[in-house]
């Protein structure tokens, strides 16, 4: 659905995006993660046909973003990180304006407007003036505008910034609904947990370079170089460490406040054997578990080296 090949953007001497390539299938939810100034907005704007790449190509739904921007615009919904809303209009007038801007037939518009207002839970505000909405409602209205022409691809630049925790959860629910509708979504953020539960792919970008990208599970394996096991024993920790260090697949073992942490590169078979070995050696195992590696850890690991 989205294909980016060696995309490059230069601003007067500054390389904002360097050699970025990415392929997304229909229905993918791609979390685009990076610190401030990494190049997320620049990349998204190039996909939204608002910025011309210095070099490289990008295709959305098979259409060249640079050669046929008009055709691409009908297929994408773009929500900028910072946006204003014409506040001298009522909510439905605002949506009607964009329905016209996307060339929706006039007799269809009332139905479509009601649909997107229902989806974004703003139907009760239909006749209010836009300036009477709260920040969270404006965010949802902007999303409603982004959905008005039923685009296949959504480009959402930090859609949850400026929202309170409750509104964040609400907007996350909305993304899950969009995911269920089969949209392909690129969503940028610097806050990782925000993306973790509904992205199936992530990419981490820093200083214009995509450091890693791919399936969430693959990246976890790739970055952590295996798993971390947490083992709790009834005493005998020192003996256990020396035993573990000699075992297959164990990269390192250490004692961490009352339990053992083992960096492990073996498969599940090997992991089970490791547990068996401990018990057979007479050690009393209280618990044996795999530590959850979340996106946050990956992010810290990947970006750490380069930030300093």
């Amino acid at each position: 659905m989205i294909q980016i090949n060696h995309l490059h953007k230069q601003y007067k001497g500054l390389n904002a995006v360097k050699d970025l390539s990415l392929t997304l299938e229909a229905g993918d939810i791609f979390g685009f993660i990076g610190p401030n100034g990494a190049g997320k907005t620049t990349t998204i704007k190039m996909l939204a046909t608002l910025l011309k790449p210095t070099s490289g190509t990008a295709f959305i739904d098979g259409i060249d973003v640079i050669e046929q921007p008009e055709a691409v615009r009908g297929r994408i919904g773009y929500m900028p990180a910072f946006f204003g809303i014409y506040d001298d209009m009522r909510v439905w007038e605002y949506l009607d304006f964009f329905a016209g801007a996307y060339r929706l037939p006039k007799n269809n518009r009332p139905r479509v407007i009601d649909d997107v207002l229902n989806l974004t839970d703003l139907i009760g505000k239909k006749d209010n003036y836009v300036e009477e909405l709260s920040t969270g409602m404006k965010q949802r209205l902007c999303l409603a505008k982004t959905l008005i022409h039923d685009p296949k691809v959504l480009l959402l630049d930090e859609p949850a910034s400026g929202l309170d925790p409750r509104a964040r959860i609400e907007i996350k629910e909305l993304f899950k609904e969009l995911k269920a509708m089969g949209k392909t979504i690129i969503i940028s953020s610097h806050i990782l947990p925000e993306l973790a539960d509904f992205c199936n792919k992530v990419g981490i970008i820093e200083r214009g370079e995509m450091l890693v990208s791919g399936d969430v599970s693959d990246i976890m394996a790739q970055v952590s170089g295996g798993r971390t096991l947490e083992i709790k024993l009834m005493g005998d920790d020192d003996r256990a460490v020396s035993l573990l260090e000699g075992a297959d697949g164990v990269l390192a073992a250490r004692q961490v406040n009352g339990h053992l942490q083992v960096d492990f590169s073996g498969d599940l078979e090997a992991q089970a054997d490791l547990n068996k070995m401990l018990i057979q050696s007479g050690l009393r195992v209280l618990s044996f578990s795999e530590q959850e590696t979340d996106l946050e850890d990956i992010f810290m690991k990947v970006t750490k080296g380069l930030v300093q």
């Binding site: 939204a48 046909t49 608002l50 900028p80 946006f83 809303i85 014409y86 801007a101 022409h149």
Partner: protein, 266 residues
């Protein structure tokens, strides 16, 4: 879909121009507005009646007052109205949202340009009965009416395009408005200043730089149709103005459309 029909930008901007009050203003405001309109209409009608019923000389003297008055308002209003068109969208961060839709550059730019001519157009329209009255009562050349109207319209479109260009190029509304009004002042006052310097140095003949001055051109047009002096030169000035000003207008608009396409590739 086109620039005129079903153009959401044009519709939105027109509505914005014509909507006198939005909300918040209560019933009292509504009544004040009605009474005010009635009073204005009364004086408007009385003035018109006075013009038709009054002496011929009054009508003749009123004509320049009205036509130059309209010109002053237009050269001030037209650029000021369009100079805010694009910079406010940039400042309110609505420009990206607008340009990422399927609207074309001409729909956006020409839509804004034309919609923001609404107020000058309404003023010209309201002045029309008076202009007609002056021509009929003052027994002036009937050609004076369409010629002056055409003159005002192309002037308004020109200064509108000038303001829009400033708005397109500038980052801030303040800068755009200041630049637009400075350019306007150059055409309306600067040209006269340059001309007087040139005349001091080179003798009494009017230098060509004055031909771009709308007030000078309007006086040439009216002198021509009143059959007063310097017929040949006035003819050239009028031709020059009617050819060069629309050409410059078109050039500015084309320049913007080209820039827009290069930037956004729409």
């Amino acid at each position: 879909m086109g620039i005129f029909s079903n153009n959401p930008v044009l519709e939105r901007e027109m509505r914005g121009r014509l909507r006198l009050r939005r909300r918040g203003a209560g019933k009292s405001f509504f009544w004040v507005a009605i009474i005010l309109t009635a009073v204005i209409f009364y004086f408007y009608a009385r003035g018109l009646a006075g013009l038709f019923g009054g002496p011929r000389q009054d009508a003749r003297e009123f004509w320049p007052l009205l036509s130059y008055g309209l010109l002053v308002i237009i050269v001030l209003l037209a650029p000021a109205l369009t100079a805010t068109a694009i910079t406010t969208e940039r400042e309110q961060q609505t420009w990206d949202t607008l340009t990422s839709t399927r609207l074309t550059g001409s729909e956006i730019l020409l839509g804004k340009w034309l919609a923001r001519q609404t107020i000058p157009a309404v003023l010209i329209f309201l002045a029309c009965p008076y202009l007609v009255g002056c021509v009929i009562r003052g027994q002036m050349d009937p050609l004076l009416l369409p010629a002056t109207l055409a003159f005002l319209v192309i002037t308004s479109l020109f200064y509108g395009a000038l303001g829009l260009l400033c708005s397109y190029q500038a980052k801030r509304t303040v800068a755009a408005t200041a630049t637009a009004l400075t350019c306007m002042a150059f055409f309306c006052l600067g040209t006269s200043l340059i001309a007087s310097v040139v005349m001091i140095l080179n003798g009494p003949r009017d230098p060509a730089v004055l031909w771009l001055n709308p007030f000078y051109a309007l006086s040439a047009l009216q002198n021509l149709l009143n059959h007063s002096y310097q017929m040949e030169q006035n003819t050239s000035i009028v031709w020059f103005y009617f050819l060069v000003v629309p050409t410059l207008t078109a050039a500015m608009l084309l320049f913007m459309l080209r820039r827009y396409r290069q930037a956004v590739r729409g």
